[in-house]
């Protein structure tokens, strides 16, 4: 990594948690808590991500701790893999940087009733069709066009709007976080620039680490929960990782510009300008919350349309309707978002703004926000890994409510920078290497596969081991990639 190593304190607290005491740097209001093991900690120390955990601990109104997951890596302002809860009644702030540019970036997992032996003979054809049908990469626009008024309706109604047009079925909403609609958004507050960026991009994958994968369940760790989720060994699924596209990026950008002077205006000091924030109860804070919620609803629409296109491709390739192929949504969950949630803090129930930036909600069994079909076992948590090794399905566990505001990790976390990964891939053919491992991969850009090669990521199994052992979420099924499309 290009940045200096972190040399500050990381004190073991037990149960895979390491503490940065609030005495570490001036202005910290709470400790930092990083979930990791010794192996991951070695990688975590190699850049300034722990320093960013300490910086987040300075935010007004922060509760309990500035928390980071084992897939933590150096971000801008906030680390990626960070969790921060603020109490509006204690001057708590909302921070666009704590959500990220890609508002409601998230993952959805779609089941099929196909098994490995059904898909293997037609895998190349399937991946090729997915790649040619689903827009991916820089500058690619979607087949669905929405005018500005319709784009605002996507934000105002969520996927219900596209489902009414036949692009999905109402039961898809039952298995989407927040039922695909976060209340309190105001599409009219979203700028024309954001609407313009989003209007051509709903139903497109994007670039960077976003992907659509055909995967197979290659290990079941919890038979009972897997059964409740409808997963079994050798079953084929589709995993989709994308967010709110240019619309969300612009909403974040607009908010950061309007928050430039908030620290001075509201009288607090920020160690990094990218931490820009405003009190929840301020004109700037209220406006961003309404915009962010609207953009989040657009993100759900984007993944709904990506899923629908995948369903159509499967139907065409296998000559059966998607319903007949059992292509039901298992779950859709965000990992870049801020939500007002009730949590118990020091024995007292409080409503706090939980910022999850590269961190996934992981509510346990019995939580009222877990869909009825899963309430007895807990919320499905979908963890994308890398395109050569594995991804995971986990289930929310009680430890998350006790320690991390109902949150777990979101992925493998990068181990190499993009430039280092590209240099490492020079002279190699990543697609051929993946094919030798049984994975058919297609990308729009020459750099896409190089920068996203498996080696560029930590081993997701190590990350998942920590959150499992810390009881933040429990292992259910391991998914192995068969086909990958990327930007």
């Amino acid at each position: 990594m290009s940045k200096a190593e972190y040399t500050g304190p990381l004190e073991p607290m037990g149960c895979h948690c390491y503490r940065i005491p609030k005495t570490y740097k001036p202005g910290m209001r709470v400790d930092g808590h990083i979930y990791a093991n010794e192996k991951l900690l070695e990688a975590i120390r190699k850049d300034q991500a722990p320093e960013q955990v300490a910086n987040v601990a300075t935010l007004p109104g922060i509760q309990v701790a500035s928390i980071a997951m084992p897939d933590i890596h150096w971000g801008y302002g906030f680390c990626i893999g960070g969790v921060c809860a603020t109490d509006p009644n204690e001057g708590g702030v909302i921070s666009p940087g704590g959500v990220g540019y890609d508002i409601n970036c998230g993952v959805r997992l779609v089941k099929t009733n196909l098994f490995l032996h059904d898909v293997q003979p037609r895998l190349k054809e399937l991946v090729k069709q997915l790649f040619h049908t689903i827009p991916s990469g820089v500058g690619r626009t979607g087949k669905y066009k929405f005018d500005p008024a319709e784009t605002r309706r996507l934000m105002g109604e969520g996927p219900k709007f596209v489902i009414q047009r036949g692009l999905g079925v109402p039961r898809d909403l039952d298995h989407t976080e927040a039922y695909g609609f976060i209340e309190g958004g105001d599409p009219e507050l979203v700028s024309d620039h954001a609407v313009k960026r989003g209007s051509e991009q709903c139903g497109t994958l994007g670039s960077g680490n976003h992907f659509l994968e055909v995967q197979v369940v290659d290990r079941i760790d919890d038979d009972q929960v897997a059964k409740a989720f409808g997963l079994e060994l050798n079953q084929v699924c589709v995993m989709i990782h994308s967010g709110s596209r240019g619309l969300g990026y612009q909403v974040c950008d607009d908010a950061l510009a309007s928050f430039r002077n908030c620290a001075q205006k509201y009288g607090f000091h920020l160690p990094d300008r990218q931490l820009a924030c405003a009190p929840v109860d301020s004109p700037e804070g209220r406006k961003y919350i309404a915009q962010m919620r609207a953009a989040a609803n657009f993100g759900f629409c984007n993944r709904q349309l990506l899923m629908q296109q995948a369903r159509e491709v499967f139907a065409a390739v296998f000559g059966r309707s998607w319903e007949d192929l059992g292509m039901e949504l298992l779950y859709d969950v965000a990992h870049n978002i801020a939500k007002l949630e009730e949590h118990t803090i020091n024995g007292q129930k409080k409503k706090v703004w939980v910022h999850r930036k590269g961190a996934t909600r992981a509510f346990p069994a019995g939580h009222p926000e877990v869909p009825e079909a899963y309430r007895a076992v807990g919320q499905p948590v979908i963890i994308p890994g890398d395109m050569g090794r594995a991804s995971w399905v986990l289930v929310g566990a009680p430890g998350a409510m006790e320690k991390t505001f109902g949150t777990t990790c979101h992925g493998a976390g990068r181990a190499m920078s993009r430039t280092a990964a590209k240099a490492d891939a020079a002279g190699r053919k990543i697609d051929r290497e993946l094919e030798h491992r049984g994975v058919i991969a297609m990308a729009s850009s020459r750099f896409g596969l190089a920068e996203e090669q498996p080696k560029a990521y930590k081993n997701v199994d190590d990350v998942v081991e920590v959150v499992h052992d810390a009881n933040l979420s429990r292992r259910v099924a391991r998914m192995r990639p068969l086909g990958v499309i990327k930007g």
Binding site: S2, G139, R197, T419, R446
Partner: protein, 136 residues
């Protein structure tokens, strides 16, 4: 002179120049090099003007790059040349470029946004230095 530098999940843009006007032009060219594999493939066919207000050079640089990114995102425009005049109250610029042509322009990265993280515009003994991290 400009270059891309590494940042874990994202990319850094860095430029050095003898004066601020050239610095802003170099940073714009650096942004184009993050978006397009071969910036030399962009032809200066269409001219447009741009004006921005701002008194702080670092924020002005972010606003300048944001505006170029917006023109790429909204109008699919890539730019080859940048004549920039930075003053104490803002900047005026003349841009020359063309719309994306998938036959000639291989796009490299989707730049989501220009960030404020570790933003630098500083005067050095050799001239000026700027650094910006872009979100990929």
């Amino acid at each position: 002179m400009h270059e891309l530098f590494e940042h874990t999940a994202d990319l850094g843009l860095r430029a050095v120049a003898p004066d601020v006007n050239t610095l802003f032009a170099e940073m714009a060219a650096c942004l184009m090099s993050a978006i397009v594999e071969d910036p030399a493939s962009i032809q200066p066919l269409h001219e447009s003007a741009l004006q921005l207000a701002g008194t702080e050079k670092d924020y002005l640089l972010v606003d300048w790059l944001k505006e170029l990114l917006l023109r790429f995102e909204e109008d699919h425009m890539l730019f080859a040349t940048f004549d920039v005049q930075v003053s104490d109250t803002g900047l005026t610029a003349t841009l020359r470029g063309e719309p994306v042509d998938p036959q000639r322009h291989a796009l490299a990265h989707e730049v989501k946004a220009i960030t404020y993280h570790e933003l630098k515009v500083i005067q050095t003994p050799q001239g000026w230095l700027a650094e910006v991290i872009v979100d990929i």
